[in-house]
């Protein structure tokens, strides 16, 4: 049975990770995305500070036309992988709605 369009149109996790790496590279003004790995620590490895997190929230929400739920714990987002997990979960929830 074919998947419903809303589900089949969801980007793959790898695709979301690639996009998040691009967004972070732009945010951090990096020439290459190489330093940004799925498990890199945003604060310690990439020097994303609290203001950087503000910008990251905005970039992700705009890129995927999403709104993070108000009870999202930003302090639990420590790596690009965590951002990807959050985006994928929200996209799935949005598609299922």
């Amino acid at each position: 049975m074919p998947q419903p369009d809303s589900v089949s149109a969801l980007p793959a996790r790898a695709e979301v990770l690639a996009k998040v790496r691009t967004l972070l590279a732009e945010l951090l003004d990096l020439e290459t995305e190489d330093p940004i790995q799925e498990t890199s620590l945003l604060a310690e490895d990439l020097q994303v500070d609290s203001l950087g997190m503000v910008d990251m929230v905005t970039l992700v929400e705009e890129a995927y036309s999403l709104r993070l739920p108000s009870n999202t714990d930003l302090t639990a987002i420590k790596t690009p992988g965590h951002i990807v997990d959050l985006v994928v979960a929200l996209l799935e929830k949005k598609a299922a709605a």
Binding site: M53, V54, V57, E62, R67, L68, S70, D73, T75
Partner: protein, 284 residues
């Protein structure tokens, strides 16, 4: 000196002021009842006792804040009027918090008042604000951006204290103060949104970068009065009551609020969730 009208109005009619004023009149009709209260201080953590003393004094310092508001809003009749109404509400908070301290057997002292009055909030705030305001940004809109952030941080502070104070009746009062601060933050928001409808596009485009500047170096009134730090009533006290979720909730709320100004506002924008209920529910 002749009156100079502001370059564009804050909001066209006084209805918003009417609503703000009337709602405020209904908030603390039982204020005299608090005089009869007796609360058990052994149930209240020391940090919360410091917080009550600190916030009571901060709210009492309202004359200093009104001076700065009138400095920036002076040519705007309605915003000047709001400053006067708002001042009475903050003074009410001072009285409520002072009565909570008295109910706990630990009222404000002459030393507290003298310590507050030695502070230099007005000049140091103007100096800070001018260093933070973006070049060319309407001073009223810049103050409103700061006002949203400052009032919202008060919401988080009172909500956090209500969760940790140890006495249900006191928790309810602190939650009511937080609810009042939501109204104050919301007034700043409504006014900003009203001005965005009539201001030049370049003014609207400055809201987001101004927010980034404010949130990256936020200063609260207690940082401008030495007495607060001398008596362990400064910013570190407030931060000690917050947990990471409080910080996260505030940053996310403000980011989502100010993020909407990155492009022209659309009608029917989804309202953000109630920050007080959200903060209470998370620990219920």
């Amino acid at each position: 000196m002749a009156y100079t009208a502001p370059p564009f109005p804050s909001f066209p009619r006084p209805d918003t002021l009417d609503q703000f004023f009337v709602a405020g009149r209904h908030m603390w009709t039982d204020i005299d009842e608090f005089k009869k209260w007796k609360l058990d201080p052994s149930k209240v953590p020391a940090e919360v006792m410091h917080f009550l003393r600190s916030t009571s004094l901060i709210e009492y310092g309202v004359s200093q804040y009104v001076r700065s508001y009138l400095h920036y809003y002076g040519e705007d009749f309605k915003l000047s009027m709001w400053s006067a109404i708002w001042a009475a509400e903050e003074y009410t908070h001072y009285l409520v918090l002072r009565r909570m301290l008295e109910a706990l057997g630990d009222g404000l002292t002459d030393e507290d008042y003298a310590g507050l009055e030695r502070g230099d909030f007005y000049d140091s705030y103007l100096s800070y604000f001018e260093s933070a305001r973006l070049d060319g940004f309407d001073q009223r809109m810049a103050q409103l951006v700061f006002g949203v952030v400052q009032e919202h941080s008060a919401v988080i502070a009172y909500t956090a204290a209500s969760k940790k104070c140890g006495i249900p009746e006191l928790a309810a009062v602190l939650k009511r103060v937080a609810r009042d601060e939501v109204r104050h933050s919301r007034f700043n928001q409504v006014t900003l949104e009203s001005m965005v409808k009539v201001c030049p596009p370049e003014q609207r485009e400055m809201i987001w970068p101004q927010f980034r500047v404010v949130i990256s170096g936020l200063q609260m009134p207690q940082e401008h009065v030495a007495y607060f730090n001398e008596k362990h009533m400064g910013s570190e006290l407030y931060h000690s009551l917050w947990d990471e979720k409080d910080w996260s909730r505030m940053v996310l709320y403000l980011t989502q609020y100010f993020g909407r100004f990155r492009k022209p506002l659309e009608d029917g924008v989804q309202e953000l969730e109630d920050p007080v209920e959200l903060g209470i529910a998370e620990t219920a």
